[in-house]
Amino acid sequence: MHMKEFKIKWGMVIDIDKCTGCGACMVGCQVENNIAPMTKKDPYNYVQALTSERDDADNKLRTLTWMNVYEMSNGKSFPEHEVAYLPRPCMQCGNPACVPVCPVVATDKNEEGGIVSQIYPRCIGCRYCMAACPYHARYFNWWDPLWPEGMDKQLSPAVSPRPRGVVEKCNFCHTRYAKAKDQARENGEDPMNLPEGAYVPACAEICPTGAITFGDLNNPEHKVHQLAKSPHAFRLLEKLGLDPQVYYMSKREWVRKQGDNYNAGDKH
């Protein structure tokens, strides 16, 4: 399979055994990326008022959660029952299912760093990328974003809010990457060789248990380089051949097994 190679490959290694499922990463992501809170009433839309209400945050199938935490279970009953939590950002696949299907090149993987981009003003909202992504990492803007009075003051100035009708997704807090490169340039350092910690997405920064490690998978000086090679590391749906840049780690075999389409082994 043809795959574009990058000198820098930003990636995550998420230690599932450390994750408590607290959801801080989800909150950090929402705030950092200006994801509008779900509000039932739209005071500016009179036609809306005549018909149905917008979705509240209780409709989990309509929420925008670029980072989502899944619960896994070993399926056994007490006292052998075990659960694990699996935070799921966009996998930034090496061979993304979403990129080749987009009819208008609104999403691409062409920038050093290997992050799958999403150009909101280009997206026509056909949702073909959502149909393609097996990780459900892509989210559609079902309603016009609306910030209750006062909350708009918390908007992050670096991130553009998205209009209704486009698909959005995690981009490893790309604006932080741009900022880190700018900072390096200002300091006379090489922006193509950022040290560990110079660029960290919000979810990794906020995680209270340190379950998320972030860095350049190709750079031996970064921790993720080694962690990804750990015998306990695995990637979600490895067998489908999407080649994600997010790795998971667990010492528990049942967790590793569940992550890779039932049976770990040779890649398709």
Partner: protein, 410 residues
Amino acid sequence: MDSKLFPEGVQRCSFGKFMLWTGFILAFFLWGLYAAVLVLYNGIGTTGLDNYFGFGLWITFDLAVIALGAGAFFTGFLKYILKIKQLEKIINLTVIVGFICYSGAMLVLTLDIGQPGRAWFGYWHPNVHSMLTEVIFCITCYCTVLIIEYVPLILEQKQLNKVPFIHALAHNMHVNMALFAGLGTFLSTFHQGSLGGMYGVLIGRPYAFREGFFIWPWTFFLFVLSAVGSGPIFTVLVCTFMEKLTGKKLVEYKVKALMGKIAGTMLTVYIFLKILDTWAWATGYLPSVGLTFDDMFYGVAYGKWMMFTEIVLCGVLPAIMLITPSIRNKPALLYTAGLLDCVGITINRYVFTVQTIAFPAMPFDKWFVYYPNWVEWASSIMIVAYGFLVLSLSYRYLPVFPQERGLNYK
């Protein structure tokens, strides 16, 4: 009242009766229009779609009507390129049905995309690797070809045709129709294929993903074949429905049986390959990614019964019925086979759209069942009503059926 507008030498129902019928259809149309306005004003949050089911009833509806509208390009190809003369008795109807199906599909797509104002980006920023780009190009170009094929029929309306310029224009368009039929065949074959290819390239969706030939997954060819295996017989069904409604014979049975034979032959080739494809998928591809055939199905909504209904009851059975002359020549059996055929193709488009994305690819994820809401139903019904309106007006005022006079008023 409007009898001067009728085609030469035919009878039509009274204007009042026609208005009643039109009013009845308009009621459905307006209901759908209300839903469509809601969607355009409030966004597709008003539908039953969600993050799990980005594709739903609309896409299924689109794919189904486009397959069933394939009678237009395939019959055009047989009539104008392969010169099967008998088909000229039904060719006008196939063009109208094709036009309705394609223009209807485009109307639904306008509602379906989140940013309808950016629909033209498909031309402006095309991704040459995306099957959907090919669909956008071919579907819009082919819809234009269908309009070009439909126009001479309108120009042949009795009163319009009295104007010498219009008469000459219609004649000249007819003379050049083979060119458009050829163009239409090329465009339509490709986008029927790329609609199938759209699903076949979903590497992350084991229900739909297929290995392939060169750059095309198998589904590319299966979709083309299934469309030409159902489109012609769908036109026959539409014609028969119109005959029942109007109480007149519109096309002789021999032509219908010929259309049945054409559809049946293509359906036989299709269903043979479809069975091979399903076998290869279940025993080759699925185990290679750690899955089994049984993993692909769930409950009643996504059960195996649907697959067997599609392939056996609505595939093998109508294929046999349509290629067997003694069965095909009995009207009731021909129509039954035609109905089964069309239902089978619609199920195929449904499972490829909905079951594909309902399958929980992540092992710790779960199956979701999708229900379209009234907004999606109403807007889809609006398209059907639109089809009825176009068809009713065309039948009343345009010379659609060259045999009508001979068959009814001897």
